[in-house]
């Protein structure tokens, strides 16, 4: 998802016998669905895993602005432009809520940003794919934000209070994102033949990258177990992916578009759609930095940060000067 392949800070899961008294009390709270709050005692590994997951989630929101920001000046109408601008602004806000949640764990936002810019933290693989035309912008809202909602709705029940509250706020805004995207795609799918072909092409290209957002299969996801026990993760990768497929197929059918994967078939016994795996080698390759846009995304992020340094420093110098003058 927006946080994929999060390495839990410890390997394997601790049994109750191995736990100290403090750890047992902590696990009891988690099991009773009592939220953990910033100054409560927590195991170091819980804190470290959360910082990693929330940090990656925050980075994804911020980097996620880049593929869409690319189309603000070229939106087909003034209304679409205003909508897209509002959505991209929301993403900046989502990044802020999440960085703020991470900061309650004792990691500063500037430090997290530094780790991202040094390549020591990741963001979701999905944002390393290009947005080639206007149909892609519709498809991103519909599929990428749609996938994000599936994950984030589950995360509203995560055990860490500030993370959970950030998710509640984000989910409220995210549904606007998915709906505006689907609305844009509807216009194209019901438009001219050429527009419909563009909508189909965008769906075909973004389908598998969207599937990858949920991360590897549960069987391959070695770090999930402890995160689930701590309720940092609430649902498994495969559960969330299935939920996304099941809710999206009828939306594709309504548009009259062809299914993007020949393996998609209703399975009566399971009561779910079957579907094909994305190319997991490609997934690993993109995570490692070799996707179509990894280099550009990082370059744009680092440039934005460096180009803004004089503004940040100038405002702070001004604030300090005024505070000094007021004190005298």
């Amino acid at each position: 998802m927006y946080a994929q392949l999060i390495k839990t800070a410890r390997s394997g899961i601790k049994s109750r016998d191995e736990m100290s008294k403090q750890e047992r009390a902590f696990q009891d709270k988690i099991d009773a669905d009592i939220k953990i709050e910033p100054r409560d005692w927590m195991p170091d590994d819980y804190r470290a895993t959360l910082i990693r997951q929330i940090g990656q989630h925050a980075h994804s929101e911020v980097v996620g602005q880049l593929p869409e920001g690319n189309w603000i000046t070229r939106a087909p109408t003034l209304e679409r432009k205003a909508i897209l601008l509002a959505k991209v602004q929301d993403e900046a806000g989502h990044g802020l809520y999440l960085y703020a949640a991470a900061e309650t764990l004792g990691e500063s936002r500037d430090e997290l940003v530094r780790l991202l810019h040094e390549g020591r933290m990741k963001y979701s693989s999905i944002f390393n794919y290009p947005t080639l035309n206007w149909a892609d912008i519709g498809a991103v809202g519909w599929l990428v934000d749609g996938a994000a909602i599936v994950n984030q709705v589950a995360l509203q029940r995560t055990s860490y209070g500030p993370y959970s509250r950030a998710m509640v706020r984000i989910c409220k805004e995210e549904s606007f994102h998915a709906r505006q995207g689907y609305h844009a795609i509807m216009k194209m799918a019901f438009g001219t033949e050429a527009q419909k072909a563009m909508a189909q092409d965008a769906l075909n290209r973004l389908w598998f990258p969207a599937m990858m957002m949920f991360g590897p299969h549960d069987s391959e996801s070695t770090h999930s177990e402890q995160s689930m026990a701590w309720k940092i993760k609430v649902k498994s990768n495969d559960e969330l992916r299935q939920q996304f497929v099941d809710q999206t197929i009828p939306q594709i059918e309504y548009l009259g578009l062809d299914l993007p994967d020949p393996g998609i078939k209703w399975n009566e016994t399971r009561g779910h759609y079957d579907f094909s795996d994305p190319d997991w080698d490609e997934f690993i390759d993109v995570i490692r930095g070799n996707g179509p846009c990894n280099v550009d995304r990082m370059k744009d992020r680092v440039n934005a940060w460096e180009d803004g340094t004089w503004v940040r420093d100038g405002l702070l110098a001004h604030a300090r000067k005024r505070a000094r003058a007021a004190a005298e």
């Binding site: 100054r39 802020l96 500063s108 706020r169 420093d313 405002l315 505070a323």
Partner: protein
């Protein structure tokens, strides 16, 4: 000196006359910018009609460990609630 902007906590009063409520945090160089940023981030969908900001380091809070001594005593004082008192229906609404 570290050039990280200080952290502010943001409180918003909604449309319907309720108290200001904590909605989140942000970084800003001073109070004026904190209010501007809070307006941009936290009131984008008619969430409020008034904003308070306070630098996070100025907030004092109870310690999590004091939860018991501070808040448990009120649990046993059921007589502080109106429902503790049975009033005959004949008396009418009270």
């Amino acid at each position: 000196m570290k050039n990280e902007w200080p952290l502010w906590e943001v409180f918003i009063r909604g449309q319907h006359g309720l108290s200001h409520r904590h909605v989140g945090s942000l970084h800003a160089p001073d109070a004026e910018m904190a209010i501007k940023n809070a307006r941009d981030v936290y009131t984008r969908r008619n969430e409020g009609v008034s904003i308070w900001v306070v630098e996070a380091r100025h907030i004092s809070a109870t310690a999590p460990g004091d939860k018991g001594p501070l808040f448990e005593p009120s649990e046993s004082k059921v007589y502080r609630h109106p429902t503790f008192f049975d009033i005959p229906e004949d008396v009418g609404h009270m």
